[in-house]
Subunit: 227 residues, 2 copies
């Protein structure tokens, strides 16, 4: 690989990881604002999304510049296309953090629901998937990326359980339907974050192994694990 | 533009439109299966998704081949990157059609709900957005693409209304909560189809005008219009 292309690619990698770190933090704060009913924190997440949008656009422009100027082929081309797609997924995770924060803002004005809903395990697993998918990208670790894909089934299962619990709670407390539906949305948004982490892991596998793994395991259940 | 690159680009355009047509049909059938409670039709949608997944993978490989072999720059490069992203959005619309069909399968086994939920306008607007976004792509029509972006607000508003109606119906008929939540999911899936049609329209605008329009109008409301 020519030295200047190598330098550009290293720069793209650093940039996408920086975006990943910003998005991870945003998601973490959004979930925390939901768990501790912190309206101010939730509003900060919503406001700071403008920054994620800006860096996503810059990143895409950077990738296009490198494609146009250096005309990479083979594995370098695959890497840059993977970064373009990962950039998109990260931006959408940022949007989902905003969606969760919006639920948190609403719920902070309501009295807590009478339902045994605990997001802790789901949050932990989802954040771990996102972190590992980015580690797999930076370390070029396909084994780790495969693990992320497998973990998605667990988050899907938790989301389905959450759905059943909310349904039961609505039956018992129909007066709390509004708050319960907001909590159900938050669960669904988290499940979609896990889907995007899986997309990132699949792109890493494609980048390393040169073949497309997505759609392979979808035949055995719902496409998204979503209700 | 060299003649062989021009030929390849025309071929990519034809291919992405063919995928668009398959996805449009799948969505139309999924919604129909929900509206007329046709379990068989819903199951056909679910089964045929494997074909959409296959053509999406092929399309991505084609784009990468053209990038590697012809090393396009400027507007040709932008077009191919736009097609790569549109391909991704179409595949996800296919997944959402499956999600809607899965709801239809469940609902076909239940008695109809006591709720004044009518998907007709939402379906019509969403399908129109998808059709117009693809027309804008093939005709290189940025004005039409801008119209698609604006129409997204209408679908978001209908989704919010649907959410309020479902909430009210659950309060009145808590015993029907399960079916009502499935209908709410279908509404949300349709709203996400409209989001993907908007993404396609934004990519068309980027391809034609060379600047990125996404995130421009998001500051004024929820990122997705979703609850």
């Amino acid at each position: 690989m020519p030295k200047h292309l190598q330098r550009e690619i290293e720069k793209l990698k650093r940039q996408i990881l920086a975006i990943g770190a910003v998005v991870e933090e945003s998601l973490h704060k959004a979930v925390r604002s939901l768990q501790v009913r912190d309206e101010k924190l939730a509003k900060r997440v919503i406001e700071s999304d403008i920054e994620i949008d800006r860096i996503e656009v810059d990143m895409e422009e950077e990738c296009l510049k490198v494609l146009a100027l250096h005309q990479p082929v083979a594995s370098d081309l695959r890497l840059i296309v993977a970064i373009l797609k990962i950039n998109n997924d990260l931006e959408r995770i940022g949007d989902l953090a905003v969606n969760i924060a919006e639920r948190a803002v609403f719920l902070s004005t309501q009295k807590p629901v009478d339902a045994p809903l605990d997001f802790a395990v789901m949050v932990e697993k989802t954040e771990e998937m996102l972190r590992k998918s980015l580690d797999a990208l930076v370390d070029g670790d396909a084994t780790l990326a495969h693990k992320v894909c497998l973990a998605d089934d667990e988050v899907d299962a938790i989301n389905r359980e959450m759905h059943a619990q909310v349904q039961e709670s609505i039956r018992l407390h129909p007066d709390q339907v509004e708050s319960l539906l907001h909590l159900l949305s938050a669960s669904r948004h988290l499940e979609r974050v896990a889907d995007h982490a899986t997309n990132i892991a699949e792109d890493v596998i494609y980048m390393i192994e040169g073949h497309i793994v997505r759609h392979k395991e979808e035949r055995f259940g719902s496409k998204s694990g979503a209700n």
